[in-house]
Amino acid sequence: MGQQILNAIFIGSIYALFAVGYTLVFGVLDILNLAHSAVFTLGAAVTYTLVVNHGQSFWLACVLGIFVAALMGLVIEYVCLRPLRRRRAPPIAALISTIGLALIIIAAIEQGRPGTLFAWLWVDGANPVTMPPGAFPNPTWHVAGLTLEGSKLAVIPISLALMLVLGYVMRSTQVGRGLRAVAENPRAARLMGIDVDRMIALTLVISSALGGLAGILFGVALGDISPYIGRDSVEVRGLAVIVLGGMGSIPGAVLGGYLLGLIEVLAVVLLGSNVRAGVAFAALFLMLVLRPQGFFGAQLRERI
């Protein structure tokens, strides 16, 4: 049971990190960025390829992976969102254009095999791979019957620290005030001299960098990197997390992430592993029907 709780905290950290980026974009733009899970996959894939196929050091690969994810945030903004905003397209159009970008990213990784156009990005096609064991330090301890893996333990402080930094930036810096102003009312923010387009681009960069990092942590610590980790592991769960916490609320997304991790682990322990995913979505459905504003709905008015 102790091991299970530890796993819940570990996987909850990754859910939270992923969902914070999701909810940030929703809070500022009122748009679901469906390319977010593809960015998650991309971060992990780039890091793996840099280490295994291009012989870079693990730490440099991580930094570059986050950098590529952040760049992809700019691509999302300039290719998928800004042209539609200029044309005053309905929000559903942005849903489709981000789906299109996600399709491109995943298809490119999927087709990455030796001899194809994308061999520089990925060489294992659709197969799941694991980071080679010597690539990063992974001390393992056995304490009181629990197995503590360094790589999994590290995920928890890293994500907590980043979310605290993000919270501080949002609450107490000039940039954060600008972002919150745009989230509240883009028009009024523009009248106050805030460069709304730049703030939105910044939102997507931050969000995608966090999403990419979540992918790297997931892929490294769980030893599972494939073109489908984003789609299978976090895409819909990310939605569940931001709904549990309240759409657009960052503290909500953090607590929602840990809550979902706990719900899933409890479902496995109490009901068996078959129902794990089903229980999470039943919880999501019930939550939306009974309390659409999420557990932290009181803060919904003060988003982000």
Binding site: F26, D30, L32, L34, V79, C80, P83, L84, R87, A89, P90, P91, I92, A93, L95, I96, S97, I99, G100, L101, A102, L103, I104, I105, I106, A107, A108, E110, Q111, T116, L117, R231, E235, V236, L239, A240, V243, M247, N274, V275, A277, G278, V279, F281, A282, L284, F285, L288, V289, P292
Partner: protein
């Protein structure tokens, strides 16, 4: 291009060699029409694959256990999907926009992962073998029902119901102030959409010898949404055109080979960015002009 060449030079050979493709286009068109109904009434419901699954499993199970005639199987599948649609619709339709979308995703995931994969009668993860499937003859049923569906929907959108839906879509508050019973018309749209999706599921199950539970998840719903939005959700024909275009896309662009995913993602983004209202929509065939595109020299005189 050989597909198009064959269609124009030898339509009969095209019909016999691509029967299954034609049937799949028909099924996808009915599904897209089911999405059209909810979008037309201003609701972003993504529940279609869930109702499809109900229709498909009901039809196949009735055929396997009771050997009922095909028409009875289809009717039962459709009716059960409509019934579940009414039950799910009642609590869910209070939600708007993205919240409704997420709740319906929760519904389909809970249904497929929680129920279908855990009930012994549905064959769990293995699915069911449908020995009475008819991949060749099914095409007639599909195309006739598609014509009926499109005609009925066209009549509906031109009638009292259609005007009520348009009013609700454009401004719920204004619609209510005009005496339109908003929840009632929303529920009608939701149930009609569920009936159509259930029928499409039953008809599709009749085409394939194996009923695969993995067909009814989030990727399917994303696909159906793309059909409807890309085709244009303001006109009955829009979803049909979208389904036709996207289903035949991999066959028309055969040269893309393995990169078809990348190409179709790029085309998806291009269409939605340059024509946010969809392929069939207001503005004839005019695309939204990019800013760098030369403007016509002569301008219509201002009418002041």
């Amino acid at each position: 291009m050989d597909l198009l060449t064959q269609l124009f030079t030898d339509p009969f050979a095209f019909w016999t060699s691509h029967t299954l493709l034609i049937s799949q286009i028909g099924i996808n068109s009915i599904l897209a029409s089911s999405m059209f109904v909810v979008l037309y009434s201003g609701q972003l419901s993504l529940a279609a694959p869930g109702f499809m699954a109900i229709g498909a499993y009901t039809a196949v199970l009735m055929d396997l256990y009771w050997h009922t005639p095909l028409a009875v199987d289809f009717a039962a599948g459709t009716a059960l999907a409509g019934l579940v649609g009414a039950i799910v619709g009642l609590p869910v339709l209070r939600l708007r926009g993205v919240f409704l979308a997420i709740a319906t995703i929760g519904f389909i995931e809970a249904l497929s992962l929680g129920v279908i994969l855990n009930l012994p009668i549905t064959g769990e993860g293995l699915g069911l073998k449908n020995i009475d499937a008819d991949p060749v003859g099914g095409v007639n049923i599909v195309l006739i029902s598609l014509a009926v569906v499109v005609y009925l929907l066209w009549r509906l959108t031109k009638g009292r119901l259609g005007y009520a839906w348009t009013a609700v879509r454009q401004d719920e508050l204004a619609a209510r102030s005009q005496g339109i019973d908003v929840p009632r018309y929303k529920l009608i749209a939701f149930v009609i959409s569920a009936l159509l999706a259930g029928y499409a599921g039953a008809a599709e199950s009749h085409l394939y010898f194996i009923l695969d539970p993995n067909e009814y998840g989030v990727p399917r719903t994303v696909q159906v949404l793309t059909f409807a939005v890309l085709g244009g959700s303001g006109n009955v024909l829009g979803p049909v055109v979208g389904a036709l275009f996207l289903t035949t896309f991999p066959f028309i662009f055969k040269q893309a080979g393995d990169y078809i995913g990348v190409v179709s993602g790029a085309v998806l983004i291009a269409i939605i960015v340059f024509r946010p209202q969809g392929i069939v929509g207001r503005g004839g065939f005019a695309f939204v002009r990019p800013r760098w595109w030369p403007r016509p020299q002569s301008r219509a005189p201002s009418t002041g």
